[in-house]
Assembly symmetry: C2
Homo-oligomer: 555 residues x 2
């Protein structure tokens, strides 16, 4: 990959022509925070230098900007519901040539086989995809996911596939409490991403003694400054569901800027195509007051520095030639993307082919006992605890309901081992009428979640998921929309364009249904099973009260 | 060395008492550039956190400051003329707990044996001494040093002793020109320090393509900014002979601050005791306008970051407990130094013992053919090229002398293989009368240099060096001062205190001699043999014109 040193020096010194020169551009100097005029000389996969150069191929950069390409420091491909190679065909032309991906969701369904598929799917794609080892499979001991990966599995899989580090350590109570399996996992992997919402003070100190490098869960400026001050790199997260940039950016100043990174965490496929990934964060950061070169520095140099990757993230001699040629200085108009010195995208279109991995081994991931309408009948008792949901948050409340009116029934059906276990609860605030929604995406165990106002439609919805799973809509006894997610019940095996088209149809069908239109039903439903977020959540065993860390009832 | 993770977490979380707590101090937050109030909890060799803590031992830090201890990123022990262990007994109490040392001088005399001695001498001392592999032994092919280390030697010795990286690559013309032996050396060692005075533009690009990380030779603000912008870390050098801080600090701003380090390069023993090493740079930086926390950040975090050393250089959870307890915020009044959690110095005094390595194998490094007065007679020819010297610089001029009046004779006697080779030249500007100076320190080959106005005194001076070498003064036929440098002819085997006492006597004896008092004779003489600095320099073959890169005459 790296150009021979003698060759590189000969080109830099001007004794040999460069392979490629971008002439007369404004070049980002992310070290001094300025733009310098010059020719960017590239030989093989590396930058020889910025100066006055001639090349075998010369591109006129007059009026253009050359930036280091961007690094998405934390994301989950599964959230996009398309396979990694489909994602990258869109993300690379939008300026990203490095990603830390945590295949946490697919590992919860398929374990090692899921991780291997993700690795295989990105092979040969012009992007440095660093896969992290999922740290919490399952997320908690209460979850029933498709797989359990203990510390010895983490060590074995990490080493077998040469993974980049340990993925977000969500089990912060475990780390702080000194849980021995968690500590063993932390000791195995050099780089460890964190996940510590609202953890501060001595508890944060304890968490950081677990060798945690980053956090992407900050909610307030004070929390950001404390985490930075204690040595963390803070990822400014701007995803499709979780949008923290406008708050956390307020904590950035010229001194601590070096300790910030950008990440998307989750991205839906529509946003990927419409607003991109890290380019969106860069644009918003500048809107919030950062200088363009500062936002670019966060998106490039800082990320490589945080992860100890040398000679990346800047336009400088000997650096990897991963760069963007843009019509503007914040990469909103990217003319071309170069990766290891080769042009890999132009005007938003990929110039590379992908060789998708065979996913058929991950089809048919839904294993349930046959269900009947009876499974979707659940006795309502006056005063029983129910889950209340709200728009724009995945946090719920536990309330005691006096009447069944307006409530929906939600069920969580264990789908990995056909155990027949089903948890039930009533949900206030969803207000779905004459229909049901079912899906195989349900963080983090990804059991089946189904919600509706009548047992018939709920049964049709669950049966509509089939063996492969997906997202299903049922109205008045009829299946009116379905996005198959054949790959582990999480990702479609179709193209991104097909996914967008089907999702558009689904959302259109949703328009005709009667429910609380302030919520995005599929997204919200996917988080109502996540028992690490307060307060009432449903798993396959029953309704769980997060704040008391126990079941409100089982069944 | 590192505290067990479970133990560390238990203390950080407050479940167990710390080993040591510094209570209620102002603690440097080098990430945010601020001071935070709190207790610093330490367990084993690591910091558990800053917060509210109790410990088995508690120190009242009220009104005090806690800083990460300092890192001298480039220095040569040999310049101090005392052995490394003697140096560290003074440097550690003055705030330094990490050093990159390049044993370039002793390697030029004794090769591997010299390097091994240096490593052995620092063993057990509470300071992270990272030895670099000398890159240029000899400095140029024209030099006759005691040893030649080619690329295969560099590889072998680096690996055998697990050295930290490649020492300052002074042969920048070789790198830029693609010299194959230089390139092989660069490919062997991951970390490579640079040395590229006034190298800019495409030549600098070429040099950096050789994977050079740092530079400590910057002379102007523009040069600094260019080097920073091309990815180098710039060491702000403030030594005893070379003082660049007041110029280079002008290039520091809040954006590029992360890319600056401090180093001393050379330090004489008097300055070591009087003004310290990195503390002196910190004080001057603040006098030049940096905030205290900024200067502290350059002295600590930046240095560790540059060299990719994790969990060092800050007061943060999990970090190595290397810190200073001070009465002021720029470490001019250091109450105590802690290294790996242990107090290793108090009020300027070391609390540790050293076990000096046996240096006797490096005694007797002077191997010359017997000399007579005839060797110090050299025909003067009207109009011949002579070396003109000036105060405050080691740069010389080549001039054609019309008369011998006022000139001194200088000789360079090869001292490693008793070859009998002696170079001669006349020197204008030294103006020594009725005496001679001789020494075995002469960069970088460290042959004998002797300068005087008469052959008798020059002979006495050279014979006064004996088999062990040192610094010698002769006046009116009498040896009036001598500092023995038994270790390779470069360092005394006496204590620092003895060295200071003898040097004081030497300087006092110099006071009674008649010479240009604007120069420091021993220092200047040691650089008049260094043929990589312009213009007329003398080696064992004759007078060398650096600008024409050839001998002005031989003999």
């Amino acid at each position: 990959m790296n150009t021979d040193m003698n060759e590189l020096i000969s080109v830099a010194a001007g004794r040999k022509p460069a392979d490629l020169v971008i002439k007369n551009a404004a070049v980002a100097d992310v070290f001094n925070g300025r733009w310098v005029a010059g020719d960017v000389a590239i030989v093989g996969g590396n930058i020889a230098g910025v100066g006055t150069y001639s090349g075998k191929i010369e591109i006129d950069g007059t009026g253009k900007y050359v930036l280091p390409s961007f690094y998405d420091t934390h994301m989950h491909f599964e959230s996009v519901m398309i396979r990694p190679s489909e994602y990258l065909k869109a993300a690379v032309p939008r300026g990203v040539t490095a990603i830390n991906a945590d295949p946490h969701e697919i590992a919860n369904v398929c374990g090692e086989a899921g991780i291997k598929f993700m690795l295989d799917d990105v092979k040969g794609i012009p992007c440095d995809v660093h896969f992290m080892m999922p740290s919490c499979v399952p997320a908690t001991p209460e979850d029933k996911s498709g797989c359990v990966l203990d510390a010895s599995d983490v060590k074995r899989i990490s080493e077998k596939y040469d993974l980049f580090g340990l993925g977000e350590m969500m089990n912060f109570p475990g780390v702080i409490g000194g849980d021995s399996d968690m500590l063993k996992k932390l000791e195995v992997c050099g780089i460890t991403d964190g996940h510590a919402p609202s953890v501060v003070g001595n508890a944060l100190n304890a968490y950081l003694c677990g060798n945690i490098l980053t956090d992407h869960e900050c909610e307030t400026v004070d929390e950001v400054r404390e985490k930075i001050g204690k040595g963390m790199y803070v990822m400014i997260r701007e995803g499709s569901q979780t949008k923290n940039l406008k708050t956390t950016i307020q904590a950035v100043d010229k001194t601590n800027l070096r300790r910030f990174l950008f990440c998307t965490d989750d991205r839906n496929v529509e946003d990927l195509f419409k607003i991109g990934t890290i380019t969106n964060a860069v644009r918003l950061a500048v809107e919030c007051g950062l200088k363009p070169i500062e936002a670019v520095t966060i998106a490039s140099l800082n990320a490589y520095e945080a992860y100890g990757i040398k000679k990346h993230g800047a336009i400088a001699p000997g650096y990897s030639a991963d760069l963007l040629l843009c019509s503007d200085n914040i990469a909103q108009k990217i003319d071309a993307v170069f990766y290891h010195g080769k042009k890999v995208a132009q005007n938003g279109k990929p110039l590379f082919d992908v060789t998708p991995a065979d996913a058929r081994g991950l089809y048919g991931s839904v294993h349930i006992k046959p269900v009947t309408e009876k499974d979707f009948e659940f006795e309502f008792k006056k005063g029983m605890p129910v889950m209340r949901v709200f728009p724009n948050t995945v946090v719920t409340q536990t309330v005691n309901a006096e009447s069944r009116d307006g409530l929906n029934l939600m069920c969580c059906i264990e789908r990995h081992s056909a155990s027949g276990m089903i948890g039930h609860c009533y949900v206030d605030g969803f207000s779905l009428k004459n229909g049901a929604i079912a899906q195989t995406v349900g963080h983090d165990a990804h059991n089946i979640t189904v919600l509706g106002d009548n047992a018939r439609d709920m049964l049709i919805a669950v049966n509509g998921l089939g063996r492969d799973g997906g997202l299903v809509l049922v109205k008045d006894g009829k299946l009116i929309g379905r996005l198959p997610l054949e790959i582990a019940g999480l990702m479609t095996d179709a193209t991104a364009e097909t996914a967008i088209k089907i999702r558009a149809e689904l959302f259109s069908a949703l328009d005709d249904m009667d429910y609380n239109k302030h919520i995005e039903p599929f997204m919200l439903l996917s988080f109502l099973t996540l028992i690490v977020i307060p307060d009432a959540k449903l798993n396959h065993k029953g309704l769980f009260g997060v704040s008391r860390w126990d079941y409100l009832y089982r069944g």
